[in-house]
């Protein structure tokens, strides 16, 4: 690197030309190294944060897909066996610490699962009589017992906890609430409660044969005490019995609105009780196992809510019948809705859950926990004991078995989300009371026996619907706007457009939602025909105007500078807008007419016309409003990115095309647009992402009804709105809470999928239309 020094003039040339000029300064190296690491670190942190969020959400969601776990090894059992005898039923307290077993001689025997002791209660209601019928209505804390002498006793059982030094002791109590008199020995009893009255169904065996009677008792409340139960009246249903078949079981619903009589031949009579009196009608007779060889029913009982009946045949066939009204029937009747896998043998016990639509059933040495809504088996196992009775605890956190050798066994259950599962979230379900399988979202209801409907499909549908209408409105406007701005507008005017768009983009969506709900929705509500007119008139007018304009000879066009055509165009559009708005009522009175039910005349009313023609609803806060407002949020994003990518198309391509005799529109359409297509696709996708995740506008501008129809005049509920609406009310770590997180995962996957497809397409387009 020796340079001839004589050729370089000046004194300092020697210093300049020494070898140090090839050195890199330490500062440069340090900065470079630091920045490299800093950027790497930042990048890794961002990736870690995203993965962290995803892992967290997934960890919140995963428990939903776990089955029940029942730890048979962790069973607690009584040390002593119960006294010898034949036990007819069991009941227990909330904590399952002091279960109660009732012996056929009318003795109540408590067992203490904490100490392992067995204690026989002093309580004696028989006074020498003999117990011939027993039913424990656990849901009502009631024991109903019938005797040989024709008496029916209602015994209320209750438990009260006392705390001493933080240790809970459960104290039991029994109270004979009512005794009724009937003719002849009682063979079957059942009881239900509605308001202040109880309905007791009693089957007695007299000399003339069986007698079925309903007994209505009422409590006369006084100021001081709860009052005593008094008989109000009786009604006889003996006529409905069969002369040749015996009654196997009678069931009164908890709400006392129905009495079911199960016969030995497998038939069931459904008596409906209307009102609060004793009026009943026989609504239906059905045979659940009519299609099998063995038509008998071994076990029949209700699920929580008393709308569904779980039936098991002696061979273990396990079916669910629910009340619903089908098309051809005038009233609700029982129909088969589900069939579970059969039990291996004759059923030995049945117990419905007190919290949800789960039930416990099994044979003498197997047990299975099933969930009715989703028709799934939550847990199934062989039992190490021979079992005669079983009970699900009130909190659904343990199972209680009474074994053949008269020990109580309590087994802990961990099944926090029985109603969840792939089927529940994504499958069609036949919900109680509905005549067909549906996708439905309804997470909370008015009562405790409510059946959770957790299908995410209506929410996914709502998300797609909202996005669709928003994009339908936003994409054409944003793209044509971008093309106009990039290709036709005078560059001087561009400086006004961009800031305007930025202001538009920076409007908080809650403001847009507020506007949509309180201004746009009420305004559009009775001016839909006006909106339709505008939607037709404005684009049509724009098109016609453009066509006319392009047909004008040069000497007219020369008065308008290129790039300033909008000055002539805008007023025309405004006039059309105004015209459309004013024309609405006229169009409405001509086309959208319905017969006024009061006057009989035909009047224009779109809000009534639409449902009468399409059969779908018309709501004030509908997809049209959401489409407009969400479009408003999406337009600036799509516009800005699309405009940028159009402007980035090299000018040489434009001049090249113009030089070949293409018009400006041909240039824009054939050269600029394809070249910018990758960027435009990105613009649409980012807009789509915004619309899919948009929350506030949807929450405020729709009724948030999770319906599944494309009808533009009805609302929707999107996944994101669903999270916003329900999260405040979802108990931490509950099923709903986790399901909302699942909604978030689905939303994430949806955007991920869309973005991946878009990215692949974009790469393809970029490759195809890259410029030199």
């Amino acid at each position: 690197m020796e340079q001839p020094t004589e050729s370089s003039p000046g004194e300092g040339s020697e210093i300049i030309l020494d070898d140090s000029r090839f050195d890199v300064s330490r500062k440069v190296l340090l900065t470079d190294g630091f920045m490299t690491w800093f950027i790497k670190f930042g990048g890794v942190m961002v990736v870690a944060a995203v993965i962290g969020i995803f892992v967290f959400i997934t960890s919140q969601v995963l428990p939903l897909f776990k089955g029940a776990s029942v730890e048979l090894d962790a069973a607690t059992t009584t040390t002593e066996a119960l006294p010898k005898g034949n036990y007819l039923g069991i009941a227990a307290d909330e904590w399952m610490e002091k279960p109660l077993a009732i012996r056929d001689d009318g003795k109540f025997i408590y067992s203490d699962l904490v100490t392992g002791e067995v204690l026989e209660s002093e309580f004696d209601f028989l006074e020498g009589d003999k117990m011939t019928a027993l039913r424990i209505e656990s849901g009502e804390d009631l024991i109903v017992a019938g005797t040989e002498s024709g008496q029916v006793h209602l015994i209320e059982f209750s438990y009260s906890p006392t705390f001493k030094d933080g240790v809970r002791t459960v104290n039991e109590d029994l109270n004979l609430a009512f005794t009724g008199e009937f003719n002849g020995p009682v063979t079957k009893v059942s009881c239900g409660q509605s308001g202040d009255s109880r309905l007791i169904a009693v089957l007695t065996e007299t000399e003339e044969g069986p007698h079925l009677e309903l007994d209505l008792v009422q409590r006369k409340k006084s100021l001081i005490s709860a009052g005593d139960w008094k008989e109000v009246g009786k009604t006889d249903l003996t006529e409905t019995l069969r002369s040749d078949v015996a009654v196997q079981e009678i069931l009164v619903t908890n709400r006392a609105d129905a009495v079911l009589v199960v016969f030995e031949n497998g038939e069931i009579d459904y008596h409906f009780r209307s009102g609060s009196g004793l009026n009943t009608e026989l609504r239906q007779t059905f045979q659940p196992f009519a299609d099998l060889n063995e038509k008998k029913i071994k076990n029949a009982d209700f699920l929580l809510g008393d709308v569904s009946l779980v039936l098991t045949s002696p061979e273990g066939v396990n079916r669910l019948f629910s009340l619903y009204r089908s098309e051809e029937e005038p009233t609700r009747m029982f129909h088969q809705t589900k069939e579970f896998p059969a039990l291996p043998d004759t059923p030995a016990f049945y117990s419905p859950s007190f919290r949800n639509k789960a039930f416990l059933t099994g044979t003498s040495n197997t047990a299975t926990l099933r969930y009715a809504t989703t028709e799934t088996i939550r847990w199934e196992s062989e039992l190490p004991w021979e079992v005669t009775h079983a009970l699900i605890s009130r909190k659904s956190d343990s199972l209680l078995f009474l074994t053949e050798d008269r020990h109580f066994v309590r087994v802990p259950v961990d099944d926090p989300h029985p109603e969840a599962g792939i089927k529940a979230f994504f499958g069609k379900q036949l919900y109680e009371g509905s005549s067909e399988a549906k996708y439905e979202w309804q997470s909370t209801g008015g009562s405790d026996d409510f059946e959770a409907k957790l299908s995410l499909i209506p929410l996914i549908f709502g998300t797609l619907k909202g996005t669709f209408y928003a994009m339908l409105f936003a994409v054409p406007i944003a793209l044509f706007g971008a093309i106009y701005t990039a290709e036709f507008l005078d560059p001087k005017n561009k400086v006004f457009i961009k800031p305007a768009m930025e202001v538009m983009a920076s409007l908080p969506s809650v403001v847009l939602g507020f506007l949509a709900a309180l201004w746009l929705a009420p305004m559009i509500e009775d001016r839909v025909p006006s909106v339709l007119c505008i939607v037709v008139l404005v684009p049509l007018g724009a098109f016609l105007f453009g066509m006319l304009w392009s047909r004008q000879p040069r000497n007219i066009k020369k008065y308008v500078r290129e790039g300033y055509e909008f000055l002539y165009f805008a007023p025309i559009m405004l006039i059309l807008l105004f015209l459309g708005w004013q024309m609405g009522p006229l169009v409405e009175s001509l086309i959208f007419t319905v017969k006024d039910p009061n006057t009989g005349e035909r009047v224009g009313d779109f809000a009534r016309w639409w449902p009468s023609i399409t059969g779908t609803a018309y709501e004030q806060r509908n997809s049209l409003v959401v489409g407009f407002m969400m479009g408003f949020a999406v337009i600036p994003i799509v516009f800005t990115i699309a405009e940028d990518s159009l402007s980035n198309v090299p000018d040489t391509l434009r001049t090249g095309s113009l030089a070949l005799g293409a018009s400006r529109w041909q240039t824009a359409w054939r050269i600029v647009l394809p070249t910018a297509s990758a960027g435009i696709l990105s613009a649409i996708m980012i807009g789509l992402g915004r619309a899919v995740g948009e929350t506030m506008i949807v929450v405020m501008a729709t009724g948030n009804t999770p319906i599944m129809e494309w009808n533009i005049f009805s609302g929707m509920r999107t996944l994101s709105a669903n999270i916003a609406v329900e999260l405040p009310e979802a108990p931490h770590h509950g099923t709903l809470y986790r399901t909302l997180f699942l909604g978030a995962v689905v939303l994430f996957l949806m955007t991920f999928l869309v973005n991946t497809i878009a990215e692949v397409l974009r790469q393809h387009l970029r490759e195809k239309y890259k410029t030199v």
Partner: protein, 276 residues
């Protein structure tokens, strides 16, 4: 002085150009006192007056930055796209004032085709690039397009190289191939005037020879104006030569005349390579 030379040369050009067909106009493109500014401060073209004859090849020579491209771009009004330009004087093509407000620019550009100094094919296939000018004119007949593609590519000496990959992207071509492609798409729709801005600047001698051959063939059909920095090329292909210097047209004459016997000193110095 410039004026008189121009008049003299046109007369001589008729004598020295036996290839000129009968009835061709000598002032097919008539430039009168034409001045042009990109920005108000700098005048790029200064009072240019010249007549360009029909169906002959005219070459523009002159040092870099003297305004050759600018003048060429004015002939089909490509400069309209640049904001802030101003011009004075007139240009008539075939008797038509091209700056007339009533004139339809698009049809002007269809008649007067320009090949740019820097080739930039569209991000489309080779085939689509060639037929673009037909497509925008609404001519979509497949047989016609196929024929045009072949004749244009043959004319631009590109056919043999690309005939097997007509539907590949034009962006995969080499710089020289791209330049020939732009010639192909300029001649595809049979314009009346062909403006070529250094069409051979990226080509090897063989391709250059082919292009020159093409220009000689074309001149019976079209009026060709070619900007070139290659003196030999100007002598080989052109009938007329105009020399520009610092925005002025210094001299225009029949090609043999200007190279053999330039009337201005600057012209002589430029031609003989003493500056430029």
């Amino acid at each position: 002085m410039t004026n008189t030379t121009a008049e003299n040369t046109t007369e001589e050009a008729v004598e020295t150009a036996p290839t000129t067909p009968e009835g061709a106009k000598l002032d097919y493109i008539k430039v009168e006192d034409f001045s042009f500014n990109y920005t108000p401060e700098v005048r790029v073209l200064d009072k240019i007056t010249m007549d360009i004859p029909e169906k002959q090849v005219t070459s523009f020579i002159g040092p870099s930055g003297c305004g050759k491209t600018t003048l060429l771009r004015n002939f089909n009004r490509m400069n309209d796209l640049i904001p802030g330009i101003t011009h004075e004087g007139t240009i008539h093509i075939d008797g038509q004032e091209i700056f007339d407000k009533k004139l339809e620019v698009i049809s002007l550009r269809k008649r007067i085709r320009m090949i740019f100094q820097k080739a930039n094919p569209f991000p489309k296939s080779i085939y689509e690039n060639v037929v673009y000018s037909l497509r925008v004119a609404g001519r979509n007949n497949k047989a016609l397009l196929d024929e045009v593609v072949e004749t244009s590519l043959r004319g631009a000496a590109l056919w043999d190289e690309v005939k097997d990959r007509l539907h590949d992207s034009a962006l995969g071509l080499s710089g020289g191939q791209m330049q020939r492609l732009s010639i192909a798409h300029a001649i595809a729709n049979q314009p009346e005037v062909l403006l070529m801005d250094e069409p051979c600047s990226a080509l090897d001698p063989i391709a250059t020879a082919k292009i020159e051959e093409l220009i000689c063939k074309l001149k019976n059909k079209f009026t060709v104006i070619i900007v070139t920095h290659n003196m030999q090329q100007a002598t080989r292909v052109s009938d007329q030569t105009a020399y520009f210097y610092l925005g002025k047209m210094i001299e225009m004459n029949a090609t043999q005349e200007i190279f053999r016997n330039p009337s201005c000193e600057e012209t002589e110095r430029y031609i003989s390579g003493k500056f430029g």
